[in-house]
Amino acid sequence: MKQSPDEARLRAFLLGDLPAAERDAMEADIFADKEVFYRLSEIEDRLIDDYARGVLTGEERLRFEQLYLTNPARRQRVEFARALTSALDRQSDTPVTANTLTPELAAAKVERQRWWLSLLELLRARQTAWTVMTVCLGLLAVAVGWLWLERSRLQAELTQTRLAYQAANERQRELEVQLAALPRPASNPVPSPTATVTSQPTPLTSAEAVLAFTLNVFALRSETNNATDQIEFPSGTKRLELRLPLLKHDFSRYRISLHDSNARLIFRSTPRAANTTANPPLLTVNLPTNRLLADAYVLTLEGISENGEFEPVGKKQFRLTRR
């Protein structure tokens, strides 16, 4: 190892190789500057350690032994250096020399390693936590997306089901109407005892499935206007022919309207003339039964004047029921 001149001078001082004047000057420096003292002490320690390790050779080794082994105090320092270097060198094969010298140091090292391991574990745990959280968020996003799609699909299905339900209802209604229009075995409709039908219905003809009733249309302010006739017709009836005898024949043409119980217009006839060959004159109107439900109805009769205006003639309430 190459030594700086300053260190060589210090080593010469320690081995007694400096002239007396230089030695005195060096001692003065030691007490004037503590750094010089500590530097010199360090070089001396290294010198002793080198001797204890057997690395001093030649003249230097000889000078060292003359000075340090002949002095009891210095010899003790060599003893200590032997212990120190021996302890360190015995562990030289072990990388962690400092911590295997004593059980406590080893334990302290293990503790530090544990601390670092704990920190590493913590970092790894955090990384794991982040990974798990990311995966969870991904799964959550997928689940939300799937739920949204499923909700849209179910809504579409619900709409289709509603439409199908409505269509089925309509179909059911149509089928009911068709079923009602089918011919039934001949059986005369029996008017309700409470009906105020003024004439018996004509016999049902299976070919046309027409049921004819005669209704008396009273004047609007007639006292009997409030009476409600009940018309019961079999399911197979296709048309319902209403015959309205005119007790008073003032108009050349008439119009007949039919409203349900909710005042909705169900049917309105074209202007037509009364059959004056009959006595009294008779107005006839054919109602398709597929437009009629079991409900209460109001039939209105209007006369058309010469100037085309409609004037109320009479009104009749009746209730239709199916068998």
Partner: protein, 179 residues
């Protein structure tokens, strides 16, 4: 004397230890056989001078150096002062067993380990770490160590020297007990 060494009891105590170490080393390097006793004698004389108050001591360290030189010269001139009559020496029995070198080395190692363990943990770590890489890249290693501790290389050197000195005293006492 402590007032000259520091403005607080702790600093004065450290200063005293440091001054004593310097004096011990001075006598060692002067090849004294009893460097510690010589150092203590030097300090006693300085304390007495301070108590007398006759001298205005500006630089205590330099003053101690002067006194130490005188003590050393006196001992060189009167070596018989330390000699005692053989009759005055207490009788010592010869050891029954002189340890072989291997055994002695084990004793040294045991003492070293015991004393190392008795040091505060930080000091212990410092000593071992400092000398661990003696054979390796020493300079760089110690610079790094000083940086890790947040102190200058000079402060590190001082701290390690004081710690080694304590450890050395302990091992010396331990070996003395065994022999």
């Amino acid at each position: 004397m402590l007032a000259h060494l520091g403005d607080s009891p702790d600093r004065a105590g450290d200063g005293y230890e440091e001054l004593r170490l310097m004096l011990v080393k001075f006598f060692e390097w002067r090849d004294s056989w009893f460097p510690e006793e010589d150092a203590d004698e030097t300090l006693d004389r300085v304390v007495r001078k301070l108590d007398e108050g006759k001298e205005d001591i500006q630089n205590l360290t330099a003053y101690c150096f002067g006194v130490a030189r005188l003590v050393h010269l006196e001992h060189l001139r009167a070596p018989e002062r330390r000699r005692v009559q053989l009759e005055d020496v207490p009788p010592l029995s010869a050891p029954e067993h002189f340890p072989a070198e291997d055994e002695h080395e084990e004793q040294r190692l045991n003492c070293f380990r015991t004393c190392l363990q008795s040091l505060p943990s930080q000091t212990r770590e410092l000593v071992v770490t400092y000398y661990q890489d003696e054979k390796r890249t020493r300079i760089d290693h110690r610079k790094n160590l000083a940086q890790e501790l947040g102190i200058s290389p000079e402060a590190l050197r001082r701290r390690v020297k004081l710690a080694r000195d304590k450890l050395e005293k302990c091992v010396r006492k331990c070996l003395r007990r065994l022999t």
